[in-house]
Amino acid sequence: MELTNGVVMLVISQLMNALALASLLTIVSSGLALIFGLRDVMNLSHGALYMLGAYVGYSVTNILGFWPALVIVPLALGLAGLALEHGVLRPLQRRSHIEVALITFGFALVLTQIIGKIWGKAPMRMDPPIALAGSVDLFGAHYPAYRLFLIAIGLGTCMALAAWLKWTRLGMYTRAASQQPEVAQMMGVNTDRLSQLVVCLGAAFAGLAGVLAGPYLSVDLGMGSAVLVMSLSIVVIGGLGSIWGAIGAAIAYAFVQVLGSVFFPWAALVVPYLLLIGVLVLRPRGFGQGRV
């Protein structure tokens, strides 16, 4: 009786952990997918933007509190997205995919170092806000309230994004432009203005994920690289430019990671890589061959 109870609680808590990670990953990856869909650019600085969000979130939380940070940071990162769009993506539209990606990679290096200079190299701990600091009774186990909050926000963001894509005019244009860019242009969509909006949105998403991640994971200079590879894999496996694919893949990825690291650590690591190879090599939709 005790044993099965323990196993059930373990499974449930791991499921919740997976959902919490999935929340973070869906937010980050949908941002990356948005940017790719509109600008046809694999933004290799996305992880660094996420990290910037976490660090700025840390500072704003210390000064103003967590809840203001939750609003301010995405806005600030939206501005960073504006800089990215105008400084890098728009001027370099005609360059090859790999060149622009490498430049965003250089941008990531620069950003990482700037963060290091401002905040220092030591990892930093961030506590969840008082309201969410406790734990909740879940099926007889104690589960951190903050993670439930994370899951709620992840779900909420996905639904908001879905609603935006489906029902607003801009959302429809975004979907059209990421699937058929020439057609969208012919329809009169100002793809430049739309791209600007979407890149800002994508960066804001990265920032939001960063703030949310602060109290959940620790804030350190390595978080950008880890998230980058994960979100790249997710966006690719989910189907380039497809927001829904990215969300689905993020959830699947989080589950494979969390459950895998407990039960099958090797699989958790190797499977994403093999899937990535499968998608990029065997079914190369999207890169330079038109979009999904």
Binding site: M42, L44, L92, R94, R95, S96, H97, I98, E99, A101, L102, I103, F105, G106, F107, A108, L109, V110, L111, T112, Q113, I114, G116, K117, K121, G222, S225, A226, L228, V229, L232, S233, V236, P265, W266, L269, V270, P272, Y273, L276, I277, L280, V281, P284, F287, G288
Partner: protein, 339 residues
């Protein structure tokens, strides 16, 4: 059409189409330079600068491998750290867990890495440049995570890395001597000369011409009857072998294999070195590596190095994709023309 060295076809590598074998004078000069290079420790008395040179050349060897891949195939390995860190780890494992001799461990590490490169190459070289870059990124991250796995802590050392030690001497040097710049220099210099020679020769050969033709128009090459898959695997395997050499030299020099080596951000310095120096020649990546290492010296302590590296990478890719070597060649060309 896009510009930049990622797209330049230049089937004739570095020379004009009518240039035959290098004239004997040039060969003699290069040979003399190679021999003189061995004497460098006698000129540079400071251990500190000697150490910088050793590190710079080790980095340069990795960059040369990367540059070969980029120039011949148009492929950029963002995850170069995978093939620098992997041989280092395998070497340490060979010494530690497998209890092999130094020579056997080196051979084991090198051979395994080359085999691994071949396997991966067979899978990923079919991809276009950006997907390929992303795959190498994922591979580097994968290896880093594997090395940090809890169950493997005894073999791989976990967070702290895996130190390595061997008794006795290898190639006439003890481990302490490998750590000392003056003695290490000989090994490093000979390795550099070997790597540069082989890379240059391969690039000039029919194999190189074929690779560059595939890069220029892969479909056309297929329709001319050429296999486009195998040559690229070969190029990838060769490039990774050169990078492994760099990794092994680093391991011999530092005596430690750490997860940082596998992290694409911290262990991937060969990439900016190659980009800054320019991949168009065999010398370019070396130049870039030495510049980078010099930068490490000047800016390293303040942490501005990585910042400048990032900025330099952006600048180079944006403005002069030929890198420093390209700039120098153009300057030389202008000077020649002005005369």
């Amino acid at each position: 059409m896009n510009n930049g060295s990622l797209a330049t076809p230049n089937l004739i590598y570095g020379a004009t189409s009518s240039s035959p074998m290098r004239p004997p004078l040039v060969i003699a000069a290069v040979a003399a330079l190679a021999v003189l290079g061995l004497m460098l420790p006698y000129l540079v008395s400071s251990t500190y600068y000697m150490n910088l040179l050793v590190r710079g050349v080790i980095l340069g060897i990795g960059a040369i491998g990367l540059g070969f891949l980029m120039q011949q195939c148009g492929l950029v390995m963002i995850g170069v750290s995978a093939f620098i860190g992997l041989p280092a780890y395998l070497f340490a494992i060979g010494l530690g867990t497998l209890k092999l001799t130094t020579g056997a461990s080196l051979a084991f590490a090198f051979a395994s890495t080359v085999a691994f490169a071949f396997l991966n190459g067979a899978l990923i070289t079919r991809a276009k440049p950006l997907p390929f870059a992303m795959l190498t990124l994922a591979l580097a991250q994968l290896l880093k995570s594997v090395v940090l796995l809890q169950p493997l802590r005894d073999i791989a050392g976990g967070d702290d890395g895996l130190p390595m030690s061997f008794n006795g001497s290898f190639l006439g040097l003890t481990q302490e001597q490998f750590a000392s710049p003056a003695a290490m220099w000989r090994v490093v210099w000979v390795s550099l000369c070997g790597a540069m020679l082989v890379t240059w020769w391969l690039a000039q050969s029919k194999f190189g011409v074929r690779l560059r033709a595939i890069k220029a128009n892969e479909e056309r090459m297929r329709f001319c009857g050429f296999s486009t898959y195998l040559p690229r695997i070969g190029a990838f395997t060769f490039a990774c072998s050169v990078m492994s050499l760099s990794g092994l030299l680093l391991a011999l020099n530092t005596g430690l294999a750490s997860p940082d080596l596998l992290d694409f951000a911290t262990g991937g310095n060969s990439l900016p070195a190659m980009l800054i120096g320019g991949s168009g020649t065999v010398v370019g990546p070396l130049l870039g590596a030495l510049t980078f290492t010099w930068g490490q010296d000047v800016f390293g302590s303040t942490g501005d190095l990585e910042l400048l590296t990032g900025l330099a990478v952006i600048l180079v890719l944006w403005m002069c994709p030929d890198g420093l070597a390209g700039l120098l060649r153009r300057a030389a060309g202008i000077l020649k023309g002005a005369r």
